[in-house]
């Protein structure tokens, strides 16, 4: 059973959105279920601060155990910060997906974020996985 945090928002593609201390700024990463499915993460290709993406747009790729997967931004937004630690330590996404393993921080609309799945809906989406 994967870990799901009650106060985050989620997508069917297994990304999460987490409020930060700054109003309108959210951390985005992949869920515990997603990191478990991928296996050991060896490389992340992430955007630069200042880049903007549409909702569900591809904002990067993650390489794990010889498979490359796309990363989708859950809501439209502008990247304001990229997690600098992941360049050297991509495995932090495996060990702490909801904490130190965040990938980008984005400026986004609170209404867009509120429209994503809550923890109960994401739990149902996983169907006990």
């Amino acid at each position: 059973m994967s870990s799901i945090h009650p106060d985050l928002r989620y997508t069917a593609d297994h990304e999460y959105v987490k409020a930060t201390a700054d109003a309108g700024v959210y951390a985005v990463g992949i869920t515990d279920y997603a990191q478990g499915e991928l296996g050991d993460i060896v490389y992340l290709e992430l955007p630069k601060a200042g880049q903007s993406f549409a909702a569900h747009g591809t904002f990067g790729t993650v390489e794990a155990v010889k498979a490359v997967s796309e990363l989708y931004l859950p809501v439209a937004g502008e990247v304001v910060e990229v997690n600098p630690r992941l360049e050297a330590e991509p495995a932090v996404v495996n060990s702490d997906p909801y904490g130190d393993g965040w990938m980008v921080k984005i400026k986004a609309s609170a209404a867009d974020v509120a429209a994503l799945m809550d923890a109960a809906a994401y739990t149902a989406h996983l169907g006990g996985k």
Binding site: E37, Y43, T58, E63, A67, V68, S69, E70
Partner: protein, 256 residues
């Protein structure tokens, strides 16, 4: 993958950029048609392929490779550097099925490959789990990863996958003979030398023909899936066309 309809495609030998463009095009075709394709191909010239995120600059140089008569491409898939020469290459493209976990598709394709190898008379098996190295630290056949196909603990088939929410591509090399030690001589910087790979030539006493390996793959496919009439390479050129620019460009190949 059991519910998919499959097609076989024999593309034969061609340049590396074209082979990568066709694999990428087949990923689009899987999305567009809902069909899976098992493709078999070969390399017109010895070609080094870099993993999607792997560092090539500083480790290899276009001039050195050109002098050695070796082409270079960068794959859409992950993993590490590989020299394609005496091998039969396979690719599987398939639409994503109800969020099927990655390792299940990897396993289904491995079962297909293991069946084909058994038909050739080779008793291969899946490698046991081991820690995964970072891309850029070694060559692809240097050590087997969990789930890869080995004979006597040595890697026979190296595979890599890319997927998005709609489809997946997995391709890999079934070694006829071991060209991988040449990578050390093609590199400008020291790289971890490849441990001897397993080859079909070693396992069978002589390398089987491309056609024999292709036919074993086709028989393994037909034994487990519904297979529609084979595709012609001409049928997939329209899907490959939008990808040619990327895979033939130095900007992509030498981007890192």
């Amino acid at each position: 993958m059991n519910t998919l309809r499959w097609r076989l495609l024999d593309s034969g030998a061609d340049g590396g950029a074209e082979q990568m463009a066709v694999d990428a095009g087949l990923l689009d075709r899987a999305r567009a048609t809902g069909e899976a394709v098992l493709r078999v191909y070969a390399w017109a010239r010895p070609t080094l392929s870099f993993g999607r995120h792997e560092t090539a600059r500083g480790r290899f140089s276009p001039a050195h490779l050109a002098a050695a008569g070796v082409d270079a491409v960068r794959r859409p898939t992950g993993g590490r550097v590989l020299l394609h020469d005496h091998e039969v290459t396979y690719s599987v493209t398939a639409p994503a099925l109800n969020d099927e976990p990655l390792r299940e598709s990897y396993r289904a394709i491995n079962q297909l490959l293991l069946d084909a190898l058994r038909r050739l008379g080779v008793a291969a098996e899946e490698a046991a789990p081991a820690p995964t190295p970072r891309p850029g630290s070694a060559a692809c056949f240097a050590e087997p990863n969990a789930g890869e196909l080995v004979v006597g603990g040595r890697k026979l088939v190296g595979s890599a996958q890319v997927r998005d929410r709609d489809a997946l591509l997995q391709h890999g090399s079934i070694l006829l003979a071991d060209d991988q030690p040449r990578i050390t001589h093609l590199a400008d910087a020291p790289i971890t030398p490849a441990v001897p790979a397993a080859t079909l030539a070693d396992a069978l006493g002589a390398a089987p023909s491309y056609e024999r390996v292709r036919d074993a793959l086709a028989a393994a496919l037909a034994a487990r899936y519904e297979v529609l009439p084979a595709l012609d390479t001409a049928d997939v050129l329209a899907f490959a066309a939008p990808h040619r620019t990327r895979y033939s460009s130095d900007e992509w190949t030498w981007r890192r």
